[in-house]
C-alpha cells in the first residue's frame, strides 16, 4: 500500500492503495466515482476512458503510481451540470441503449472535438474505433458528435 494524492476533477483526493492499482479501480472503489466503467481491463473496449491532462486515456491501463500531478478528468467532471455539448447532444438524440459504454464514448469524443472541432465522418470513425458499444449505437454516436460539434463542442 502507498499514499497518493491525485488531482481529480479539479479536487485534490488522497488514497491509500497498492501502487499498481489501475486508476479505474481507484476511482471506482476508493473515490466512489463510478462513471468510469470496467469492460475488459486490457485497453480494448474504451469503457474506462478518462482524460489525463486532457488526453484520452484508458483508466484500466494506468497504474495509479504513474499519474502524479496530472489532472484527471472523469465523466463526472466533464461539466459541472451535464451541460457539455456532447452530454446535451446525447440526451437530445437519445443515443444510449444500455448506456454502459457511453461515458467512455463521450470522453473520447470530447477529446476529439477539442483537437478537431469540426470532424468529418472519417475523423469520427477513426477517433472512436477504440470504444466498443455492444448495443451498437454507433449511428447515434456519430450523429451526437456532429450535433455537439455544430454547437461548439470543441470549446
Amino acid at each position: 500500500m502507498a499514499k497518493f494524492t491525485l488531482q481529480v476533477n479539479g479536487q485534490s483526493r488522497s488514497v491509500d492503495v497498492a501502487p499498481d492499482t489501475p486508476l479505474l479501480w481507484v476511482l471506482r472503489d476508493s473515490l466512489e466515482l463510478v462513471g468510469t466503467k470496467f469492460g475488459c481491463g486490457v485497453g480494448m473496449c474504451g469503457a474506462c476512458t478518462l482524460h489525463l491532462n486532457g488526453v484520452p486515456t484508458r483508466g484500466c491501463m494506468t497504474p495509479v503510481s504513474t499519474v502524479g500531478r496530472k489532472q484527471v478528468t472523469t465523466i463526472e467532471g466533464l461539466s459541472a451540470d451535464g451541460s457539455h455539448p456532447l452530454q446535451k447532444a446525447w440526451c437530445e438524440l437519445d443515443v444510449a441503449q444500455c448506456g454502459y459504454c457511453q461515458a467512455g464514448q463521450i470522453m473520447t469524443a470530447a477529446a476529439l472535438l477539442k483537437e478537431n472541432p469540426k470532424p468529418g465522418d472519417q475523423d469520427i470513425d477513426d477517433a472512436m474505433a477504440g470504444n466498443l458499444c455492444r448495443c451498437a449505437t454507433y449511428l447515434r454516436i456519430r450523429a451526437g458528435i456532429k450535433l455537439a460539434a455544430a454547437h461548439g463542442g470543441g470549446k
Binding site: G39, D81, Q97
Partner: protein
C-alpha cells in the same frame, strides 16, 4: 439544444421512499396483478393515503403534482423503463415533464417481471393502458364532485382536469386529496383513449436515465456500493463443470487485503452454481491481484477432450445418415427431389458465440439472519430469487431482490449463475455485503453461449424455378436433460436456443419439406442469445432460398413472394409478411441488376417474437475481399402502435449493427474442453468504422396487438448481408464468421 432536464428523471428507490413519506396525502393507486399468466386482471387495492403508501403501487401523485410511476421490468438497454411508463402517462393525460420514474424491485404485486422473449411490451401493454385510464377517471370524478358538475362535462388534459362550460381548471396535485377518498372504478367503467388522440405514444421520448448516464451517476449493477462491502472474484474450472481437487487458499488468505478465500463445492448445473474458488478482498483490484497467485488443481471431468474441430468432423459424419429425429415432414421430399428440374445441396454452419454484454456479470449480496438481499443486474429477478431458494433451501420471503440497470442483456442475464455464486459467497461471509465481479475473461469463458450448429440442405426447383422440395438435416448440440414443463424424462435434447422446430420458414409453406435433427452431446453451457435459434436459422433458410432463386434463375424478391403466397400455417400470418417484404423492396428501391460488379443488394425476411421484419442490405466488396456495408433498409410490423419511436428505432438500428457484427466477426473456439478466447483482443466485435453509414427503419402499423422489438429485427440481418455479398461478388457465405470465406474476386 436543451439542457438535460431532470424534471422527468428517474430516482432511486431510497429517494422514492423518502419522497413518498414526505408527500403525505398523495393519491396512491395500487393494483395487485395476478402473477400467473399474462392476462393480469387488476384487482383493486383500497385507496390509500400517504401514510398507507404501499410499494405495490404503479402510480403515485403528490399534492405538488409530481407523478411517480414504477417501472417494474428490468432495464437492459431495451428502453422499457421509459416506454411502459409512457403508456400510463398517455392514458393519465399527464405532462411527461411532471413524471418521475422509479425502478421497482422484485415484488409479486407487480406481476411477472422477466425481460425475455421480447415479451415486456405485449405482456403489459393493455394493462398499463388500464392503469393510467383508471387513475385519470378518478381524477376527473374528483374534479366533478368538487365542482358539483357531471363527470361527463369534465376533461383531463396536461396534468389537470378542465370544465369547459365554466372555464375552470384543477391541477392533478390539487385533486389528490379528493381522489384518494374515491372508490376505484371497475375496469369495465374505464374508458381508454382513442389512439388517434395519443399525444405521447409514437413520439420520440429520451430514455429516463439519460441525464444520469451522460454524467456518470451510479446506475448499474457494478456501481453498487454498500457500507462495509467486500469485493469478490470467483475462479471456475476452464473446462465447464470441472471440480476443485485442491487450491492454495491458505496462501491466498495471507496476501495483503485478502479477507477470505475458500472452495465452493458447487453443483453439476452448468447454468447454476458451478464449483470454484472464491477470493474476498478489500477492493476489486486486491481480489484481481490475489487471483493471479491462485493455484487450483482441477478434476476436469469427461468433456476435457472436446473440441470444435472434432464436433465439426462428427457433424459431417452424421450428415451422411438420416437425422435421429424428424422435426416435421410434409409430402415426399425424396420423390420431389428425384423429379425436380434442378437440385442443389449446401452445408451451412456457425460457431458458438458469447453475449459479451459490455458490463461483465456481477452481483452484490448480503446474507443476514438466514436471509439474502441481493442487488442484481438481471433480466429475470424472479428467476434469481428462485435460483437462490432452490440452491440454499431458504423460503422465498427470505430472498429480497433489488433490480439495477444492466449494461446489456441479450439473454445473458436470464441465467442465474453469477447470482448464486455471489449468494454462496455471501452465505459463507455471513453478514458482510459482498460484490462479485467477473472479469471479461470469466465472462467470455463462462457464458451461457449461443450454440453453434450445422445444417445440411437439399433443395429442388422445377423448370419455372419454383421451389418443389426442401430438406434440412440440422446437427446441433445438447445434453442429457429433462424436457419442457412436466416432461421430466431424461434424454439427449438440444441445448437452449439450439433446437429447431417445425415452424421455421419455409416449413409449412411447401408441399414437400423435411426437417430432421441430430443432437451431439456436449458439456458446453447454452442459453438464449437475442432471438434464440432464429438469429441463426434465418441465416440458413434465407440464404438457401437465395441459392434456390439463383439456381432457378429467379429474382430473389419475386421467389420469396411466391413462397409466401403458397400457403401458411400456425401463427405465421403470410399476408403481414408479404406486406413488409413489398414495402422494404419499395423503400430500398429493389433492383439488384442496377449495381456494378463489386456492389450488391440482398433481401431477407423473418418472423419471430410476433414481429414481421424484412430487410434489404447494400454492400460493397472490394477485389481484395473487404466488405463494407453501405446501407440497410428495414420494415417492421410489430402491430398497431410504436410506443416510443426513439427507442424503437434505436432497437432496430442496434439489432442491425449487432447482426452484422455477429456475422462478420464473432467466433469462439473450443479446444480441450475449454474456450480458447479470453478478451476482446481475441474476440473481435464490430466497431464504429464497420457500422453502416445509413440504416433506414420504417414501421408498418397494422391492426394487430402491439408487440416487442428487442429481438425480431436481428434474424434477417445476416442473410440480407450475405445475400448482398453474393450479389456483389458471386461468393456464397455459408459459414460464420465472414472471415472464413474467401471473398476476393477479379
Amino acid at each position: 439544444m436543451s439542457t438535460p432536464t431532470f424534471a422527468n428523471r428517474s430516482i432511486d428507490r431510497r429517494d422514492f421512499l423518502k419522497f413518498s413519506a414526505l408527500a403525505g396525502g398523495g393519491l396512491v393507486l395500487g393494483f395487485y396483478l395476478k402473477s400467473a399468466g399474462s392476462a393480469f386482471a387488476a384487482e383493486v387495492v383500497k385507496p390509500a393515503t400517504g401514510a398507507d403508501f404501499k410499494p405495490n403501487a404503479f402510480i403515485r401523485i403528490a399534492p405538488d403534482g409530481v407523478v411517480t410511476l414504477v417501472s417494474k421490468q428490468p432495464e437492459i438497454g431495451q428502453g422499457i423503463k421509459t416506454s411502459l411508463p409512457m403508456i400510463i402517462a398517455e392514458e393519465l393525460e399527464v405532462n411527461w415533464k411532471d413524471v418521475v420514474i422509479v425502478q421497482g424491485d422484485l415484488d409479486a404485486a407487480y406481476g411477472g417481471q422477466s425481460a425475455g422473449g421480447s415479451r415486456s411490451t405485449p405482456n403489459n401493454y393493455n394493462e398499463f393502458h388500464k392503469l393510467g385510464a383508471t387513475a385519470r377517471t378518478m381524477l376527473v370524478e374528483a374534479a366533478a364532485q368538487t365542482w358539483g358538475v357531471p363527470a361527463t362535462e369534465c376533461r383531463a388534459a396536461s396534468s389537470a382536469v378542465h370544465h369547459a362550460a365554466t372555464k375552470r381548471t384543477l391541477g392533478y396535485g390539487e385533486l389528490v386529496a379528493k381522489a384518494a377518498t374515491l372508490p376505484v372504478p371497475p375496469t369495465a367503467d374505464v374508458q381508454l383513449k382513442d389512439p388517434k388522440d395519443y399525444k405521447l405514444l409514437g413520439t420520440r421520448i429520451g430514455g429516463v436515465d439519460n441525464p444520469k448516464i451522460v454524467t456518470g451517476q451510479p446506475l448499474f449493477g457494478l456501481d453498487t456500493k454498500l457500507p462495509g462491502m467486500l469485493y469478490a472474484v470467483y475462479e471456475k474450472c476452464p473446462v465447464f463443470g470441472g471440480k476443485v481437487v485442491s487450491a492454495n487458499t491458505d496462501q491466498i488468505k495471507a496476501l495483503p487485503g485478502v479477507k477470505d478465500a475458500f472452495i465452493i463445492e458447487g453443483t453439476s448445473n452448468l447454468s447454476g452454481l458451478m464449483p470454484g474458488v472464491a477470493i474476498v478482498a478489500d477492493s476489486t483490484w486486491t481480489a484481481f491481484s490475489a487471483r493471479k497467485q491462485l493455484k487450483v488443481t482441477w478434476d476436469e471431468g469427461k468433456t476435457a477432450n472436446d473440441s470444435w474441430d472434432a464436433f465439426t468432423a462428427k457433424a459431417t459424419e452424421l450428415s451422411k445418415q438420416p437425422g435421429t429425429a424428424t422435426v416435421r415432414k410434409d409430402g415426399d421430399v425424396t420423390a420431389a427431389l428425384a423429379t425436380a428440374a434442378k437440385t442443389i445441396e449446401a452445408a451451412y454452419s456457425y460457431p458458438f458465440i458469447s453475449h459479451a454484454s459490455i458490463e461483465p456479470q456481477n452481483c452484490t449480496a448480503v446474507f443476514k439472519d438466514g436471509g439474502f438481499e441481493i442487488w442484481a443486474p438481471s433480466q429475470n429477478p424472479g428467476g434469481a430469487q428462485g435460483a437462490i431458494v432452490s440452491q440454499f433451501g431458504v423460503a422465498k420471503e427470505k430472498v429480497l431482490v433489488h433490480l439495477t440497470r444492466s449494461g446489456g442483456g441479450f439473454g445473458r442475464r436470464l441465467s442465474q449463475d453469477y447470482v448464486v455464486e455471489v449468494a454462496a459467497i455471501a452465505q459463507k461471509l455471513n453478514g458482510a455485503p459482498v460484490k462479485l465481479t467477473w472479469t471479461r475473461e470469466d465472462d467470455l469463458r463462462h457464458d451461457q453461449y449461443r450454440a453453434g450448429g450445422f445444417h445440411f440442405l437439399k433443395g429442388g426447383v422445377d423448370t419455372a424455378g419454383k421451389v418443389v422440395a426442401w430438406q434440412n438435416h440440422f446437427v446441433t448440440f445438447g445434453s442429457i436433460s429433462a424436457g419442457r414443463g412436466n416432461d421430466t424424462t431424461m434424454a439427449l435434447r438440444p441445448g437452449s436456443g439450439a433446437g429447431l422446430d417445425g415452424d421455421q420458414f419455409p416449413s409449412r409453406f411447401l408441399a414437400n419439406c423435411l426437417t430432421e435433427q441430430t443432437v451431439m452431446e456436449c458439456g458446453i453451457p447454452m442459453g438464449p442469445w437475442r432471438a434464440p435459434g432464429n438469429n441463426v436459422f434465418s441465416f440458413v433458410m434465407q440464404g438457401f432460398i437465395d441459392e434456390l432463386a439463383h439456381a432457378g434463375g429467379r429474382d430473389p424478391l419475386e421467389l420469396r413472394l411466391e413462397l409466401l403466397s403458397q400457403k401458411s400455417g400456425g401463427n405465421y400470418d403470410a399476408a403481414r409478411m408479404i406486406a413488409v417484404v413489398k414495402l422494404v423492396a419499395e423503400k430500398a428501391g429493389w433492383n439488384p441488376k442496377k449495381f456494378p460488379r463489386g456492389q450488391g443488394q440482398g433481401i431477407a425476411f423473418h418472423f419471430s417474437h410476433q414481429g414481421y421484419i424484412a430487410q434489404v442490405a447494400e454492400v460493397t466488396v472490394s477485389k481484395e475481399g473487404q466488405v463494407k456495408v453501405d446501407r440497410f433498409v428495414c420494415v417492421c410490423d410489430v402491430g398497431a402502435q410504436i410506443v416510443n419511436l426513439s427507442g424503437a428505432e434505436n432497437q432496430v438500428q442496434g439489432s442491425i449493427v449487432d447482426g452484422i457484427g455477429a456475422a462478420m466477426f464473432q467466433e469462439l473456439n473450443l479446444e480441450r474442453g475449454r474456450i480458447t478466447q479470453g478478451n476482446f483482443n481475441e474476440y473481435p466485435m464490430l466497431r464504429m468504422p464497420d457500422a453502416p453509414a445509413q440504416i433506414e427503419v420504417h414501421f408498418l402499423s397494422t391492426n394487430n396487438p402491439t408487440t416487442g422489438l428487442g429481438e425480431p429485427a436481428i434474424p434477417p440481418v445476416a442473410p440480407a448481408l450475405c445475400n448482398a455479398i453474393f450479389a456483389a461478388c458471386g461468393k456464397r457465405i455459408r459459414q460464420f464468421p465472414l472471415s472464413r470465406t474467401d471473398l476476393r474476386w477479379s
